[in-house]
Symmetry: C2
Subunit: 348 residues, 2 copies
């Protein structure tokens, strides 16, 4: 039970009375070393459970085989699915992942990136925090890229930055959703969305508008509820409820609701039910995201799946491909993951 620290090449060399080089070569099965000594060294190494020190390798190779993830929040079904996707292909290709949470804060995003950019990782996969999007200050991304460290952004991205991106077609996804509502006969479709500085909020709102256009209908400004999602921290759900309640009371003919995320949809359904409306008979609902709420709500929520895991997988592939391509490839791609409208019981 005595503590056995990891054995090193040097110790093996000393023990077997050969040089460090010989040990290293023997363990990597070099033809430079005779079979006899190779056998001896390999046996000894196995006995003592030798494993090369990762840090030393990282220093020598100037690559760490780990990728850094920076996301705004981890207690979030979508982001954890993305992480799962990243981890899956990263592991498959011999990489580890190290995660940093920005907690939607600009400063924490910057700090976190700095902590990791000094050699700890080979590249970033990240989704931009709301605060950063609001301030539109992207210097930390550009600096990192200029240092030769590749970045892949997913979901929340900005065009100004030169890097690979993995996104969904928010516009198309929400247009499809709203089209579905309109096709189902809804005449008064409301949208519950976020302020425009969150790009996905803006795009999903736009998709809503374009669906009306395709149906030769004109949207009603009263039916567009833009909530300040800085407020949607645990506590402020109540204020959201009252906002939604007002929406319904001011527009009694609402027969369809499209919400840009799962929680908004669930809350809206709750309010509607409270007001005596039947789902989906009186009013139909569609949400946006992969969440677990949608699946297990009653009625279960029709939703636009954004395939978070697949986004993560693709992001990891893009990053690792770039890391392992030695020619300085300055060509960046934007991959669009198809959304999918998952029909459940909140729509007819």
């Amino acid at each position: 039970m005595a503590m056995k620290k990891q054995i090193t090449l040097k110790q093996i060399a000393k023990e077997l009375d050969v040089s460090i080089s010989t040990v290293s070569k023997a363990l990597r099965n070099s033809i430079e070393i005779s079979e006899d000594t190779k056998d001896k060294i390999q046996a000894f190494a196995k006995l003592y459970n030798y494993r090369p020190n990762n840090i030393a390798l990282s220093l020598k190779n100037r690559k760490t085989k780990t990728i850094g993830i920076i996301i705004p929040e981890i207690v979030h079904h979508f982001f954890s699915k993305v992480i799962r996707g990243i981890e899956l292909v990263a592991n498959k290709r011999g990489y580890n992942v190290i995660v940093g949470l920005s907690n939607e804060s600009f400063d924490k995003e910057v700090i976190n990136m700095q902590m990791l950019a000094n050699g700890s990782i080979d590249g970033f996969i990240l989704s931009i925090s709301k605060e950063t999007l609001l301030q539109q200050d992207y210097h930390h991304f550009n600096e990192t890229i200029n240092q030769g460290m590749p970045i892949v952004m997913f979901d929340r991205v900005v065009n100004e930055i030169n890097c690979d991106k993995v996104i969904i077609d928010d516009l198309k996804g929400s247009k499809n959703a709203v089209n579905k509502l309109l096709d189902n006969g809804c005449k008064q479709v409301a949208i519950i969305t976020t302020k425009d500085y969150v790009s996905v909020g803006r795009l999903r709102t736009q998709g809503y508008l374009e669906a009306f256009e395709e149906h030769k209908m004109s949207p009603n400004a009263n039916l567009i509820l833009k909530v300040d999602d800085a407020l949607v921290s645990e506590d402020h759900i109540e204020s959201l409820e009252t906002e939604v309640e007002q929406l319904f009371k001011n527009n009694t003919k609402i027969d369809g609701v499209f919400a840009v995320n799962e929680l908004y949809a669930i809350i809206a359904m709750k309010v509607a039910r409270k007001l005596g409306l039947k789902i989906p008979e009186d009013v139909q609902f569609i949400g946006f995201t992969d969440g677990v709420l949608s699946k297990h709500a009653t009625p279960s929520l029709t939703t636009v799946s954004q395939h978070g895991q697949q986004m993560g997988e693709k992001a990891a592939e893009l990053l690792i491909d770039k890391l392992e391509k030695d020619d300085q490839d300055d060509h960046y791609q934007t991959v669009v993951i198809e959304t999918e409208l998952i029909l459940r019981n909140s729509t007819k």
Copy 2:
């Protein structure tokens, strides 16, 4: 826009025509160096945005300032809350976290630990995979510990292993929950639990039994449903539903249900409603966990909160304390986080 790789001490030294040692000392504000040269070097370093290479530091100090997390699954509200807690205090104390997912597999757990144990991290925080619990093979944990790398286990732990642990009092938590149901007048309380090899399942079942004992009532074996949670992968929820439906049909007098996790409770509520039962009038429900489902279900679910974030914070504190205590402290503690019964609308 030319690519500027991170500058090193050596380059600064060369540029300023001093030795590497001088640069290093100047940047660490050593009194050995004159104010003049310090100013000059520090200015230059700031200009070129010098930051010490983490890998080199790790190699030199033989500590990486990162902690490894191994969890069975990340797409899970409880685990992501734990991670958030870990990340919070880790960051506050200058550590990074690197996550590995075992995906409930023994092999992946072992592989993941080996990948990280070779110098990449200073210590582990982990929760054991179901498969490992089933096989009861804990050699990889013991080996890691014997190498001098501390481990902190949380939630799913085993006594055989000598390390710090952070758990909740599963027995007490579930006993309280069931007591609540019995106090509320329930006569026929069912439990939906897991097979016994998952320690938390076993303990929660035991709490259920002890609550009966406290109430001088004797449990009815027919009301104990042990589902094989190896099956509860996305797809097999249906089979769970039919099992629960059978439970209700075979025992029409059930007026209370305690489920050892959130999903079981939600599904049971759905089935009950389908069978025409009113919640909480006809039958009351209590679940177990922090999840988002509980809060937003209709009716919202009374639940035993296990304070995942707090568990993570405590685990990180235990680990970092041990890492930074140089005296070989061979004393391990088990911290119990208090559970909390959060009363919502699924109980009277």
